[in-house]
């Protein structure tokens, strides 16, 4: 039985000038899966996220969401001569979407270095993420003709905050929260966009083993409660090995391994890549 495909990254290469940050990446996430993306520092994991979410247009390759090709590109202009990757002739279309469009299609993300809205309260941070699904226009919103909608947004935001144990902090400034709670708020904010796929960029960074353990359970719970798929970058191996069904390993931009936690742990190339750098 094949599960519905939510994300497919095909032959994606992202080259900055002469630097190949992501090299011919192929990966897929199916409905309900929690997938890990790991690799040493500078391997290109965050860059892969930036391509999937439309921050960067890939130099070559395609990304499809829920079966629909939304991003596609091939080496053009001065990249034609500079291109060092593979599959150069395979793609012939140029299709780019801005990040907000990708989010609207159901892909939400968190950031490695927390990017909350500093001048806004905890509650407002979540409400902003709901704006993308707002139906009211500027004037009906300004004149509060959409009171029902606004109330519903507040209720849903409250529910999310409760789930992350943030309801007591709802009126606090987002930056006044302790570090761990800021990470939680980032996830709550991403969920407020109503995603089908959640991309988490090192959600447990800076957390102690107990906190990352809690986070692990939270991620599993989110997957079940919100009926979504998760692709997460994470350095804490206990988290990755604990909840990911499959894991992709990047090194120097290229995929060096793919498989379930057991296979990855015993893969000699992975061990080498990690021993060669750190951990």
């Amino acid at each position: 039985m094949t599960k519905r495909n939510i994300l497919r990254v095909s032959d994606v290469t992202m080259q900055f000038g002469g630097v190949v940050a992501v090299n011919n990446l192929n990966l897929e996430v199916n409905k309900g899966e929690i997938i890990g993306l790991i690799g040493p520092n500078g391997a290109g994991k965050t860059t892969a996220f930036n391509v999937i979410t439309g921050v960067y247009a890939p130099t070559n390759g395609a990304v499809s969401i829920d079966g629909q090709v939304v991003i596609e590109n091939y080496p053009q202009g001065k990249m034609k001569a500079l291109y060092k990757g593979q599959n150069a002739g395979k793609y012939a279309d140029r299709r780019v979407l801005t990040p907000d469009k990708i989010t609207k299609m159901g892909v939400a993300r968190t950031f490695q270095n927390i990017r909350l809205f500093k001048g806004m309260s905890v509650m407002e941070n979540v409400l902003v993420a709901m704006h993308t699904n707002l139906e009211a226009g500027v004037f009906s919103a300004a004149f509060r003709r959409n009171r029902k909608e606004e109330e519903k947004m507040h209720d849903e935001a409250m529910q999310l905050l409760r789930m992350f144990d943030l309801e007591k902090n709802k009126d606090d400034m987002s930056t006044s929260l302790p570090y761990g709670k800021q990470r939680h708020l980032e996830i709550a904010r991403a969920l407020a966009t109503k995603p089908k796929l959640l991309l988490l960029d090192e959600p447990a960074a800076g957390m102690n083993p107990q906190e990352s353990d809690e986070l692990m359970h939270l991620v599993a719970k989110i997957r079940d409660d919100f009926d979504l798929s998760v692709l997460m970058i994470e350095h804490h191996m206990q988290v990755v090995m604990g909840i990911c069904e499959r894991i992709y390993v990047l090194d120097y931009g290229a995929l060096i391994a793919e498989g379930n936690p057991q296979e990855i742990q015993n893969n000699p190339r992975v061990i080498e890549a990690y021993l060669g750098v750190d951990e």
Binding site: P99, D100, T103, Q112, A142, R189
Partner: protein, 429 residues
């Protein structure tokens, strides 16, 4: 700890409405009772001009303080608004003398006049003035709409620029516009570099106050709506905002167009206030004045912009006038010659910007709770202040040399902060 005062939402609404009505009634009665020769007449000038500046400052704050777009086109937009209003409101009979170098101009009608004649024909004497009054709103709204439409067109290329370039582009645009309006070929419409006058204008200071108040009210509603939150998200972090589904261009465009609409209305009110209009006052200086008001009041505070406007106008038009005429608070010196006011004003502003880099209000807003708590604690605070005053004074003079020595470094820091506050330079991660 200070005890917080809390009042219900209903009480707040009643309190606000009541205060507004009392204020408007006072202005109305005061204006009626004040003889034209009284020096208190200045108070009403300040109220009128202050409220117009407040509207323009709040509209600029919507861009700079709430959407993080460092735009410097405000004077240009006011110019369009002012001219639009004037051009369509000069009575037909006056057009020959106003447009004397351009054969009475291209447009031969006045919208307020059309309304006036229409209503006057039905209702008689009262109808004429009522018709003119109602008719004034049409060119005024046109002023806003035309300005907004132009902003929309300019926004398409300009809003894709990074912050610094946006400032330069809008500033340049405003200057070009000024030259354009003086262009001889447009004379039949704009009267070239000659003055436009004799157009319909208001008679009571209540008019600009109420119009500005309503417009500011709308901006506040907008800021507190879901769209306002999206604007603030863009201000705080463009990349995160976009990742949360906020369409950057669309929202910047809304903010820019709405801000310009109200700058256009502000321009129309300013034309009415001066009963005439030329391109002369709409230089980048005007934009800087408005920017200064926004900074003094607090970038990101509507209350601050309003307070700042009245303070600014009161200082420049009224309180510091004595410095020019050689009599200020009973003092009189030889150097108090015309122009000295501006020197003092500049120094005051420098002090405010240097030592209150967040402005009077920061990003806070007026609230009844805050205001009442402030009043309640005021006596205690004053007592404490005076108790501690001698010590403070001594401290002040003791640390003064060190402070002066540290001034250059501090100035540098403030400028740096100002630059990062009107932020840019974010990297994608």
């Amino acid at each position: 700890m200070n005890k917080e005062i809390s009042i219900s939402k209903k009480q707040k609404t009643i309190l606000s409405l009541f205060t507004c009505l009392v204020f408007l009634a006072l202005v109305y009665v005061g204006d009626m009772l004040t003889p034209p020769t009284s020096s208190w007449g200045m108070l009403f000038t300040v109220l009128e001009k202050g409220s117009i500046y407040a509207l323009v400052a709040v509209s600029m704050n919507l861009l700079n303080g709430f959407t993080g777009l460092f735009s410097l086109g405000q004077a240009g937009f006011m110019l369009i608004g002012g001219y639009t209003y004037a051009i369509f409101s000069i009575p037909a009979a006056s057009r020959d003398s106003v447009y004397q170098y351009f054969d009475g101009g291209l447009i031969k009608f006045s919208i307020p006049e059309i309304f006036s004649n229409a209503l006057g024909g039905v209702l008689g004497e009262l109808g004429y003035s009522l018709g003119e009054f109602i008719g004034m709103f049409v060119p005024m709204i046109m002023a806003g709409l035309i300005t907004a439409g132009l902003a929309f067109l300019i926004g398409i290329p300009v809003l894709r620029l990074k912050s610094d370039y946006l400032a330069i582009a809008t500033l340049g645009f405003a200057e070009i516009l000024r030259a354009f309006f003086q262009w001889k070929a447009l004379g039949p419409i704009t009267n070239g570099s000659n003055i436009l006058r004799s157009f319909s204008t208001y008679s009571s200071p209540l008019f600009p106050i109420i119009i500005s108040g309503l417009c500011i009210g709308f901006i506040v509603l907008l800021i507190n709506s879901s769209y306002g939150r999206a604007f603030k998200a863009i201000r705080d972090d463009e990349i995160a905002a976009e990742a949360m589904g906020v369409n950057l261009f669309k929202h910047k465009q809304w903010s820019f167009v709405i801000s310009s609409f109200f700058a256009g209305i502000g321009g129309a009110l300013l034309a009415m206030f001066s009963s005439s209009i030329t391109t002369t006052p709409f230089t980048s200086n005007l934009t800087y004045e408005i920017l200064l008001i926004v900074v003094i009041g607090g970038i990101g505070s509507v209350t601050g912009s309003i307070l700042g406007s009245f303070l600014f106008v009161a200082c420049s038009e009224w309180w510091l006038r004595g410095l020019d005429s050689g009599a200020f608070l009973g003092l009189s010196f030889g150097f108090m010659r015309p122009g000295f006011r501006k020197v003092v004003f500049a120094v005051v502003i420098m002090i405010i910007v240097l030592f209150y880099s967040k402005g009077i209000m920061g990003t806070r807003e007026f609230s009844w709770e805050g205001f009442l708590t402030f009043l309640k604690n005021l006596p205690g605070r004053l007592i404490n202040f005076f108790k501690a005053f001698p010590k403070r004074l001594a401290d002040f003079f003791r640390t003064l040399p060190a402070k002066i020595a540290g001034l250059p470094a501090r100035m540098k820091n403030s400028l740096k902060k100002l630059k990062t506050n009107t932020k840019h330079g974010k990297e994608a991660r």
